[in-house]
Symmetry: C2
């Protein structure tokens, strides 16, 4: 049997008793199920933890369903776990303390598009690609792209970002307002739809990144942007990562508004070449994207070529035609599959630290040195403009030693990042997997302030318990 | 004697007893004073409320001083009010429930400049113009400009913004991390200096806009930006505000990154012309600023001229030379003084709603209609790109009827804005003055969630009590 890391649980499980089950069935009918197949489907995400089945799954139809579920869960003292599409890689959706899962599959409507205000309002089950399909006719788009076909609810709950955060920010910057069901079963809006406000504590940002632990998000108002008139991509190779990072810093200092800038180390390039049949130079590489007017982009091109050349950049290549751009970005998007191909049947373990850009070269270089001794495949990609990078390690899922090696690498990497004034998670969230690092990152006093919020907002510990902060210190 | 609006007080004052005073003097020596002149200087801000003297004033020298003050205030059950330069217009710094004021005049150092990371770390007493003077040599600047020569601490505490939020965001978007003294006298950092993070609840945003009610901010890490290569301004007149707003919406939809876009109604233009000896057409006007490369700005110019012409824009005028720009923006900056000149000896009452841009024309038009009956001077200016606008009313401070008229206008305006899915305060904050509107804006349940945070973070109600939310429902 395959090895799995042990799942830390902070409180004893509280399961659905028969009376409670009957109450859920009576209220929700067929929308609530305790069938084995459905429970099994909600027992896992993309994390390494072993599956944990919820006691039942509610396919919520509307906010009223969520309110009723919160009240029933409170009445019967049963945890409640929101579920988007299960693409978390840190164990967010595992019902480790028992309870029911609310699946937002059927709350998947774009509720409003306000083109003049550059906002849209959506239900949590809307998938980001679906959103862009539904608003394309307005000339607007939603930029956040975490790679996975994630739900907007999940992206909000984990404060997700991705490749173009350098230009457009993360979910932190692009969620304008939320509708939330609170522990009392009341429905609140965290703010008006005004672009800015100084009217009291910032409840919106408190819920963004709260991972279902403070309430259940049932509507999300997002900022959207005009589709760029022109888009161009470019690749450039560098002697070392340090040269690449320096080039990016200089480009940003020059004021060029890079929309995306992705780093791949030579191992990542090799994996991508093998998988996508590309012929990129197998050395540290930057993949750029620029959004703007045709003249603006042409002007940026001159600056970028000059600054990359100044840092030893070679094999500079523009991809102005859509099909050329698609080749490059598809190769980058398929990086994860390229890694899987390096070890068929293997399991990918992904890290997620983020450091100030001035420390990025040091952090990646030290990490690469730490990785040298490993016998299994690994490579590094990064969102350089943000200081966020991922190590992907391809381990044999049945090999306990490889699990431990990968976990040890991650532990050292996280502590290295924190020492460099960085964070244990740039965009994947805490879930279960990063809980142990929050004390090192924030300190005990700040962690206690977070715990105070959990206690104040969820006095019965109903909302996704055992995630982000433990109930007791 | 001049009339003043009554100051609402939610709890009985808790004053400094003689033992407490002696303890402060023993600990802080000459940095703590109970002298009448100093107390009087801290008894007022720019709001309409009558002065309220603090029981003493501490000129804090460092974080240790703040920690000691929090501990002494807790020990003796005395409120503590942070004070920047006193430019609040909503009564934030009035010690309405007694207590001592911490003045940050002497905590005014720029602690670190990290040009590669586009961040700076400052003490709360740093003035925004001082910050820009101190970082100019790096080619970077801090964009937020609330008009007043405000302190960064005060701007953080009130979630301030100003004329170029449309491009650079508000304090919400530009504070990366804070150091805060909590109710237990512990010093926390709200986050690392990484550009993005998903590591737990967003304490940074909880403190931005908390107006001194949840802890005392002692360090602020801000995002800064490359100084634009080129800057151009333009003015254009319109038949009505609605035409002006429509032009702005279309310009933003076109993707032109406007850095500033300010609206003035015909009355504001008239006041400015009289004060600044400008000859602007006395009809609704937009004042633009663009940041970018020379070619980028030239390109934007074509689009902007076309789109403004399409909305009946006339008297379009570019100001490419710095001295031409200075004339225009100085006229705008001196708008407040132009209003004062309309009624020498009068008092300016300023409103601050913000609505979704799609509702801005309606909100301003309805408000202007409501203002027609007034006998005293008034005019309207707005940060159109954000949907935020201000009515300035010049009343006779001795005339109780005019006070009431102005307050009634403000009440109706706030409720109108809230009905249009807007906010009672776009950038000035809640203080005392807007507390009564938060229930209408957020609803009772959300307001209670805010109160829960206050209770959890400040169990003894020491931090600037009686502001934002009342202690009891």
């Amino acid at each position: 049997m395959a090895y799995s890391p042990a799942t830390p649980v902070s409180s004893a499980p509280r399961h659905l008793c028969e009376t409670a089950r009957a109450a859920f069935v009576a209220h929700f009918g067929e929308r609530f199920t305790t069938g084995a197949a459905v429970r099994d489907h909600h027992a896992r995400d993309e994390s390494a933890y072993p599956p944990v089945q919820p006691d039942g799954v509610l396919f919520a139809r509307d906010t009223d369903d969520v309110v009723a579920a919160v009240k029933l869960c409170t009445q019967f003292n049963v945890p409640l776990i929101p579920f988007g599409i299960g693409s978390s890689i840190e164990g967010h959706v595992l019902p480790i303390e028992g309870g029911i899962t609310i699946d937002f599959r059927d709350m998947n409507r774009v509720l409003a598009i306000q083109p003049e205000d550059f906002t849209v309002t959506v239900q949590p089950g809307v998938i980001r690609t679906q959103l862009n399909d539904e608003i394309r006719h307005t000339g607007l788009f939603f930029p956040i792209d975490p790679g996975a076909h994630a739900s907007i609810g999940g992206m909000t709950a984990t404060r997700a970002s991705g490749t173009n955060a350098v230009r457009y920010g993360t979910m932190r910057d692009n969620v304008l307002s939320l509708k939330v069901v609170t522990a009392t079963g009341e429905v609140i809006r965290t703010s008006s739809r005004a672009r800015k406000s100084s009217a009291g504590y910032d409840l919106t940002h408190l819920y963004v990144g709260s991972e279902g632990t403070l309430g259940v998000i049932v509507e999300i108002t997002l900022r959207v942007y005009p589709l760029p008139e022109a888009v161009t991509a470019a690749v450039c190779s560098f002697p070392t990562l340090r040269h690449a990072v320096q080039a990016v810093t200089e480009i940003m200092q020059s004021g060029v508004p890079i929309a995306r800038v992705e780093f791949m180390d030579e191992r990542a390039v090799r994996a991508v070449n093998a998988y996508s049949k590309t012929a990129l130079a197998e050395q540290p590489l930057l993949l750029f994207e620029f959004h703007g007017s045709p003249a603006g982009i042409a002007e940026q091109a001159v600056i970028v070529q000059e600054l990359t050349a100044g840092q030893g950049g070679t094999a500079f290549q523009w991809a102005e035609k859509p099909e050329e751009r698609t080749v490059l970005w598809t190769a980058r998007h398929n990086y994860y599959f390229a890694c899987l191909q390096q070890r068929p049947g293997g399991r990918a373990i992904t890290t997620d630290v983020c450091v100030p850009i001035s420390r990025l070269a040091d952090c990646v270089t030290d990490t690469a040195a730490d990785l040298q001794s490993l016998a299994f495949p690994w490579s590094i990609v990064g969102h350089v403009g943000d200081g966020n990078f991922h190590v992907v390690m391809m381990i044999d899922a049945d090999n306990e030693q490889e699990w431990h090696q990968a976990e040890d690498i991650n532990n050292r990497l996280v502590l290295r990042a924190i020492q460099m004034d960085g964070t244990c998670t740039g965009e994947h969230g805490v879930g279960i997997h990063k809980m142990g690092f929050l004390k090192a990152e924030h300190g005990e006093a700040a962690l206690q302030l977070m715990r105070n919020i959990k206690h104040a907002y969820d006095p019965n510990n109903i909302f996704n318990p055992g995630k982000i902060v433990s109930w007791s210190a």
